[in-house]
């Protein structure tokens, strides 16, 4: 019952300690960040058992009873997202020990990293709409700073674009929250849901839904709002690219959309069809833009847009199978996309370039990077038996089951184009003849290898999450979304 606030306290506390003492004690950042994320991972794994036993946990901040006081809510969906976020962040922290050596001010990096993590965990467990906004801003501001971390010309430019777009999105979200507060006179998400059911729908609620869709859609980089992502994600240090593409866009964008539209505002067929349409467009546009890229990280960033499209399409179908596919793909994508970005970082670390045309035959010199990259490429392209195959298969089956043949076709075409694009990566970077320039490159240090290998293992065995033993992990998250506005009743039931 009392573990809920620790998801925010631990990263905030470590960020504070690192910023205070990190300059004097050199290794403090490495130790505290890794220890903190490891504890968070353990806590989030433990939260699965809690959710299994209690269904839902509500923590009343300061002892005030909701809806007057602020509350934190842990249910199946939160627990699922917490595991995803903290798993990736632990492995990224492990990777950063060696990778971030080439930057100065490593302790500042860890401070911002932990602040971003605090923001993301806060969004996931917040049961209060304004708190969600505050945590969203904490995560966003630290990510703007992290994108500019190298302070080279390109990085600053990308960060400026990202910060401007992100702030406009935050403006839309805050306007939506203000309107929703004026309509319902409450900020507690469960209470808003109750009041909205009593008052019935009106034009104002539709307007609020559009504002939220714009704001969170921009944070999730759905296609009409995607322009910042391809600049911002490649410019960050590789470990941060992995965090941004792997979990940040999903928590800030997709999770918030899911929670607000399914559980708070209430889902309607119009919103579902908008989500499906945006998903399908993102899926195709992202992958087509990715095909022409020669910069390794930029190519990966465009694939993030495309894969977010798959997730949103799956969730937008609104059927149990579709939501299962979407959520499973969310988990899988966070694993293999972080792995791919860590691979690109490893190549950058050893070679100092990200241009695919300058690489070649790296398989001989960097076997671990090459093999883990092969696994991740096959996962993202959807080749059995890797995890990406299962989630894409479920999404396509769900499209067929819902009689959406056009969307199923889009998903298949997107998958084929993804395969083509990653064959290009493999051919130019890792296979073929070794480029003379790279005769003496070495494999990356142990911590980086270890984190890539663990992620690759999860890619291989990820499909087992569908087996009956592990099924409750995904199913409890799906149940929360299927519950829709019944969420309010369950939250208030848990308070008494």
């Amino acid at each position: 019952m009392k573990i809920l606030p620790f998801f925010v306290i631990i990263p905030l506390g470590t960020a504070f300690l690192i910023s205070l003492l990190g300059k004097k004690i050199k290794s403090l950042g490495d130790i505290l960040a890794n220890l903190g994320t490891l504890i968070l991972l353990a806590l989030s794994l433990y939260s699965i058992r809690l959710v299994d036993a209690h269904k839902i946990l509500v923590y009343k901040v300061g002892g005030w009873i909701p809806p007057i006081g602020i509350c934190m809510v842990l249910d199946g969906l939160s627990s699922f997202m917490l595991v995803t976020v903290n798993l990736v962040s632990f492995l990224v922290a492990l990777y950063s020990i060696s990778y971030m050596e080439k930057y100065t001010g490593k302790y500042k990096f860890y401070t911002l990293f932990m602040l971003m993590l605090a923001g993301m965990n806060g969004i996931i467990i917040s049961g209060d709409l304004f708190n969600l906004f505050v945590f969203l801003e904490i995560a966003s501001i630290s990510s703007y700073a992290l994108v500019a971390f190298g302070t080279e010309a390109e990085e600053l430019e990308a960060s400026f674009k990202y910060a401007v777009m992100g702030s406009v999105a935050s403006g839309f979200i805050l306007l939506g929250i203000a309107l929703l507060y004026s309509y319902t006179s409450t900020l507690n998400m469960a209470d808003i849901s109750l009041v909205l059911s009593e008052k019935g729908s009106s034009l104002l609620v539709s307007f609020i839904a559009v504002l939220f869709l714009m704001g969170f859609g921009l944070k999730a980089a759905l296609v009409p709002f995607h322009a910042w992502l391809a600049d911002a994600h490649p410019s960050a240090p590789a470990s941060i690219s992995a965090m941004l593409s792997g979990v940040l866009i999903k928590v800030l964008g997709v999770y918030a959309i899911m929670r607000l539209f399914f559980n708070v505002i209430g889902i309607s067929n119009t919103i579902l069809s908008i989500l499906m349409f945006l998903g399908a467009i993102s899926m195709l546009a992202g992958v087509i833009l990715a095909l022409a890229q020669w910069d390794f990280k930029r190519l990966l960033a465009y694939h993030s847009i495309s894969q977010i499209g798959y997730i949103v399409l799956g969730i937008g179908l609104g059927t149990p199978l579709g939501i299962l596919g979407g959520l499973f793909h969310l988990f899988n994508h966070s694993i293999f996309k972080s792995l791919l970005f860590l691979n690109s970082g490893a190549v950058d670390y050893s070679l100092g370039t990200r241009d695919l045309r300058e690489m070649g035959g790296l398989k001989e010199r960097m076997p671990v990077t090459a093999n883990t990259n092969l696994i991740a490429s096959m996962s993202i392209a959807g080749i059995p038996p890797f995890n990406g195959f299962w989630s894409k298969l479920i999404i396509i089956l769900a499209c067929l089951q819902a009689n959406r043949f056009g969307y199923a076709l889009c998903a298949i075409v997107g998958s084929i184009l993804t395969l083509a694009s990653f064959m290009k990566v493999q051919k130019y970077a890792f296979f073929g003849k070794l480029n003379e320039r790279w005769k003496d490159v070495k494999e990356v240090p142990l911590a980086m290898r270890l984190s890539m290998i663990i992620l690759a293992m999860i890619c291989i065995i990820g499909g087992i999450l569908l087996l009956p033993i592990f099924r409750p992990f995904l199913q409890s998250a799906v149940d929360v979304l299927l519950l829709g506005k019944g969420y309010a009743g369950i939250v208030f039931g848990a308070i008494q």
Partner: protein, 112 residues
């Protein structure tokens, strides 16, 4: 009603400024206008005609008070806005050092 519409117009002015202006400092100012418009709107929601502050004291009866929650929220929102503005201005200064210009159309090394 008219004050809400004025807020919305202010919001749109800010949005126009962000979208159309080429000078990055003006873009930052535009962001500030957007943020103020939203804050103002939030405060107005909680306002009641001739209302007073909701502080309960002895032998006093409060008949008409303003809603305190939006005021508390707007304070938080102003602090967040300060952080964003400070960060973006810092980035703008570094951009000027690297590119030697404030013109956003000349800051275009990232393409594709």
């Amino acid at each position: 009603m008219s004050e809400y519409i004025l807020c919305l117009i202010l919001f749109c002015i800010g949005l126009y400024c962000v979208l159309r202006k080429r000078n990055i400092i003006k873009i930052v100012i535009g962001l500030g206008i957007i943020e103020y418009a939203v804050n103002l709107f939030f405060v107005l929601i909680g306002y009641r005609m001739h209302g007073r502050a909701p502080i309960l004291a002895k032998d006093q009866q409060i008949l008409n008070m303003v809603d305190p929650i939006p005021q508390a929220l707007v304070l938080t929102s102003i602090v967040i806005g300060l952080a964003v503005t400070a960060l973006i201005v810092a980035i703008a200064i570094r951009l000027y050092e690297k590119y030697g210009t404030f013109d956003i159309t000349k800051i275009n090394r990232l393409k594709g």
